[in-house]
């Protein structure tokens, strides 16, 4: 690199040193865009890695599971016999859910460390400390290995014992950072059996096993147990893919908003540097040297943006991960660790995307500026012609994108295709915006009477502001549209979900205690006093059309079955369809996931593999099933029990006697009499609270990204206005010299800004509705197989108008402060003589 090149670089880069605000805004735009994008990438990659790593914890080491066909656990004697028979790769697992004294539900997983395969723990963990804690783990009073994030949430320090709702305590806590543990507490199997007051294991895991051993194991396994291949990892990937695609698309949208800000900042830096570029060329700087310098500048920015953006992305991911991890565990039973593992590939991708963004925003316009001969490059009239031409070209490109989006809409079949259409639509709107703003200025100028000179002047000043505000307005439009669209999706979902919960979770108590049968419960002497109705659900999990599928046997006469909300049905009414399903055994109800994702229609015959061969059913109704990633079929319990003998209990729903104020207490006492432990049942209110909490947690990431996108757009607006101020200061000084007051000047700047913001806001309302409509009726259906009515309210739009007003107010305030600081110098320069 010769000294001449260094001088060119120095001349180009000195701009950023002398204009720190522009440098700051360019950096913020780039960093925010990269941070939002990389945060989601880090989370997605981390989640996928966690699914893989989950295989390495305890049961997930398993090649096979041994489960009770009736989900009633496994006797410890079976485990002992298998070990005695030489199956050293079999190890036990107990899963429990308990409530803390504070009412927080936590999951416990337990195993026998002595029985684990040798490679169950990574070798780097086998050190002295580990050996010490390992010994304490397996000996009374045992240890509870609590994940760090959960310990923080529960405010639990090392050595403390967590108190449960029934007054018992967990073993002393050892705070752990084991990734694979997720949010589960790990205890020794003996401690877990003490807690559960049962001698039954949840299931057995089978490590690496040869084909011969597998056959031998199958032969000696008691009839009530089954050997199932472990495909949890595959299932998780499949079930969570849509969620991760959604997040990726949202992060790309945020990156696009960030990119507009970069583009905006770059345009200003170009505008200011057109003189420098001209000087360089007048002094004989070669075009190739300039190109190389531009390339170097792009590279420098991309490295800076990537390093800072990726760093900020990690922080953001760390902030968002606990909530999302909890949601993934609740929705999919997917364990996601809380300590981020970073992949160099993600960093490279972040660099690649920032480089591409900058190439578009920085290198391309600079390159276009170069071929202009000499003094032409600096002629402002040419730049104005460029601006008008750019508006027309953008509008044309936007119209083209809109047509493409319309054409592609009919062909949407995957989440990715859906987001491509959304992207086309949003960019189409953004690119058409400048010509609409210009049109609005023309219309207003035409409408305003000639005598309102000051008003006409204020409107006409918009022409001076439009080039500088163009990109910021596009970014604002994207941010507002995304905010309204995604906000409406979440509101619609919340409304549908809460309404659905009220019907689906209408029972007062939900009991999950495999050791208690429905008959036992009904046989209780006092049950008639407190029990109004009950519903015992049975089921099995299988695979249908290559996807995890749940078959459920339900009582057609139970209160929740009679009120089952259907989205579509056979015949005249939902009630008639339910009636036909109750009365005819060859009818089936399917969840929306089966309807939308597998394409099964009402009236279609579906085949299910039963114990005695294929069973065929006619679909008579489709029920809503929010939050369930599985395919699900509802059959009358009798029908399921007769064809799937290995079915197991899915719990009992209890409706309490509304006339008995003591019903809840009596029910709890009765359940305890039958041997149920606290945590085996859950009250309706608590269950709904849990369900809503999962919902809110899942969408917390959406809200956070919406907020960040709005902040980024606000920064763009601020940057643009400050740039206008800087550029036009001499002009403002001239007006001041003519007698214009500061308040009038501020009004002059504010009027076009408010006109533009109002137009952007108005445009974002129908666009947000379209976005929401596509998200709900296309993407949500394709991704998750859920449908819901679109709920559109005007209040969020009004709230956003208020936010825009605040942003504009704050920006104008800063402008006023800047004026007060810089105007005296500008005024002094007006009359300058040598």
């Amino acid at each position: 690199m010769n000294s001449g090149f260094c001088w060119v670089m120095k001349a180009l880069l000195s701009h950023y040193w002398r204009h720190p605000w522009q440098t700051l805004f360019l950096t913020i735009g780039l960093v925010a865009g990269v941070a939002l994008w990389s945060a989601v990438q880090i989370i997605n990659q981390h989640a996928r890695d966690s699914y893989q790593e989950a295989q390495n914890l305890l049961g997930a080491q398993a090649q096979y599971w041994i489960r009770n066909r009736r989900d009633q656990g496994i006797e410890t004697s079976v485990y002992v016999e298998l070990r005695r028979a030489g199956f050293r790769q079999v190890f036990p697992l107990v899963e429990l859910e308990v409530s803390t004294a504070a009412g927080v539900s936590i999951k416990i997983i337990a195993t026998d460390l002595l029985a684990l395969p040798d490679d169950a723990f990574a070798s780097d963990e086998v050190n002295e400390d580990f050996a010490d804690s390992w010994l304490k783990f397996v000996q009374p009073p045992y240890r509870a290995w609590v994940p760090r994030v959960l310990a923080r949430e529960l405010d639990l320090a090392a050595g403390e014992q967590l108190e449960l709702r029934d007054g018992r305590k967990l073993p002393p806590a050892l705070i752990q950072a084991r990734e694979q543990q997720g949010r589960r507490v790990l205890v020794d199997i003996a401690a877990a059996l003490e807690l559960s007051a049962s001698e039954r294991l949840s299931y057995l895991a089978v490590g690496r096993i040869t084909a011969n051993e597998f056959i031998r194991l199958q032969k000696i396994l008691p009839g009530h147990l089954e050997l199932i291949e472990n495909q949890q990892h595959l299932d998780l990937r499949e079930l969570t893919q849509s969620l991760h695609s959604h997040l990726s698309a949202m992060s790309l949208l945020s990156f696009a908003v960030g990119l507009f800000i970069v583009f905006n900042a770059v345009r200003f830096s170009l505008w200011y540097r057109r003189g420098t570029l001209l000087n360089l060329r007048l002094m004989g700087c070669d075009t190739r040297v300039l190109l190389l310098a531009i390339l170097m500048e792009t590279l420098l920015w991309s490295v800076l943006g990537t390093v800072l953006g990726f760093g900020a992305g990690i922080l953001l991911a760390q902030a968002l991960l606990p909530g999302l991890g909890a949601s993934l565990q609740s929705l999919y039973d997917a364990v996601v660790g809380t300590d981020l593992g970073l992949s160099p590939w993600t960093l490279l991708q972040a660099w690649g995307i920032s480089l591409l963004g900058l190439a578009w925003a920085l290198a391309w316009p600079l390159y276009r500026q170069l071929p202009r001969r000499g003094l032409q490059a600096a002629r402002s009239d040419l730049l104005l012609i460029d601006e008008s031409l750019a508006r027309r070209r953008l509008a044309l490109a936007g119209a083209l994108l809109a047509v493409l989006a319309l054409l592609a809409y009919a062909w949407i079949e995957t989440v990715t295709q859906g987001f491509v259409v959304l992207g086309l639509l949003l960019f189409a709107a953004a690119w058409v915006l400048p010509i609409l703003l210009a049109g609005a200025l023309r219309l207003l100028a035409w409408l305003l009477p000639g005598r309102l000179l000051l008003a006409r002047w204020m409107v006409s000043d918009g022409w001076s502001q439009l080039p500088a505000l163009r990109s910021a307005m596009m970014a604002l439009l994207l941010a507002l549209t995304a905010n309204l669209g995604v906000g409406s999706l979440v509101d619609s979902f919340r409304s549908a979900f809460v309404g659905w919960l009220e019907v689906r979770q209408s029972a007062d108590i939900y009991l999950r205690a495999p050791q208690i049968s429905h008959a036992q419960l009904l046989g209780l002497a006092d049950s008639s006093q407190w029990l109004a109705a009950s519903h015992h659900r049975i089921g099995i999990t299988t695979r249908w059309r290559e996807r995890p599928t749940q078959l459920r046997g339900i009582d057609p006469g139970a209160p929740d079955s009679l009120q089952l909300p259907l989205s579509s049905w056979q015949g005249e009414s939902a009630a008639a369809a339910l009636q036909s399903w109750r009365e005819q055994p060859a009818k089936v109800l399917i969840n929306e996931q089966v309807h939308f994702l597998a394409g099964v229609e009402i009236g279609e015959q579906i085949s299910l593999q039963g114990d005695n061969g294929i069973q065929t059913y006619e679909v008579v109704g489709v029920f809503y099933d929010y939050g369930n990633p599985y395919f699900q079929f509802y059959l009358p319990a009798r029908e399921l029990a007769s064809h799937w003998r290995q079915h197991y209990s899915r719990g009992i729903a209890l409706w309490l006697n509304p006339d008995n104020p003591q019903a809840f207490a009596q029910a709890e006492a009765s359940l305890k009499t039958l041997g149920a432990q606290p945590g085996d049942w859950i009250a309706q209110a608590q269950l709904r609270k849990l369900s809503v909490a999962i919902f809110e947690r899942t969408f917390a990431i959406t809200a956070a990204m919406n907020l960040l996108t709005m902040i980024v757009a606000a920064i763009a607006l601020l940057a643009s206005l400050l740039a206008i101020l800087q550029e036009r200061l001499p002009q403002f000084a001239q007006w001041r010299a003519l007698g214009l007051r500061q308040s009038e000047q501020l009004l002059l700047v504010a009027t076009p800004l408010l006109i533009f913001c109002a137009i952007v806001w108005l445009l974002s309302i129908p666009l947000g509705a379209v976005l929401s409509w596509i998200l709900i009726h296309k993407l949500n259906v394709i991704s998750f197989g859920w449908s819901m009515p679109l709920l559109w309210e005007f209040t969020p739009a009004l709230q956003l108008a208020l936010v825009i007003g605040l942003i504009c107010g704050l920006t104008l305030l800063l402008v006023a402060v800047q004026w007060r600081r810089q105007m005296p110098q500008a005024l002094a320069q007006l009359g300058e003589t040598v």
Binding site: N2, S3, G4, W7, V8, K10, A11, S14, H15, W17, R18, H19, G275, T276, L278, N279, R281, L282, M283, G284, C285, D286, T287, R288, R373, G374, L375, E832, T833, V834
Partner: protein, 220 residues
């Protein structure tokens, strides 16, 4: 050193073409200075831009220091402007984000002809000694023009092309700056072709030529 033959240039305005230079001939020897006079719009600046290779002629030839400017590629023109030519404009064209010292050194650094002794001399002669750490906009217009002159001369170009270099200054400053400028050009061994409206400025130079109706005539 500079030979122009049969040079013509016209511009299109609306639907009509307006001729600015018509089969113009001009010669200039090394280490000489020429004032280019003429009415507004007569084509003086256009002629300067054509010599610097900033614009294309319709026809004719421009030879400078053995190079055919009219036929040169952009990279060759850039190399010539960097090392053999200098341009001084009424608007100074300083790089606002670099200090005065960096601006003065810039072109010499580009063509690797930095000469610390001569740099100090120029700075001293132009009275910029205590201004070198400042930025251009912190200087008066007269001082900015001196910076532009120092930048144009530090690499000792063969020819300095100046387009009304004192047009932005008052009369007394103009005379002072012009005196210094012509003296320093001679000291650098360069030639100077300067566009000016002012007869008094033209008197500082060896020759005066008048551009009228697209042709040059010698003037007393």
């Amino acid at each position: 050193m500079l030979a122009i033959r049969n040079l013509s240039k016209s511009y299109r305005y609306a639907d009509a073409r307006q001729s600015v230079l018509e089969q113009l001939d001009f010669d200039m020897v090394a280490s000489s200075s020429v004032a280019l006079l003429g009415e507004s719009g007569s084509g003086k600046s256009t002629l300067l831009h054509l010599i610097a290779g900033l614009d294309h002629a319709d026809q004719g030839e421009i030879h400078f220091d053995g190079h055919a400017i009219h036929a040169a590629r952009e990279s060759e023109l850039a190399a010539l402007r960097r090392s053999r030519l200098s341009l001084v404009f009424q608007q100074f064209h300083l790089i606002s984000t670099l200090t005065v010292l960096d601006n003065i050194r810039f072109q010499a650094a580009l063509c690797r002809r930095l000469d610390p002794a001569y740099e100090s001399e120029l700075i001293e002669r132009l009275g910029l000694g205590d201004q070198t750490g400042k930025y251009p906009q912190q200087l008066s217009r007269g001082q900015q023009q001196r910076v532009a002159i120092a930048r144009a001369l530090l690499h000792k170009p063969l020819l300095v092309l100046a387009d009304e270099p004192t047009g932005n200054l008052d009369e007394s400053s103009s005379i002072e700056v012009m005196g210094l400028f012509s003296e320093l050009v001679k000291r650098a061994g360069s030639s100077l072709l300067m566009v000016t409206h002012s007869r008094s400025m033209a008197d500082f130079l060896d020759r005066r030529v008048y551009l009228h109706n697209g042709k040059l005539t010698e003037s007393e």
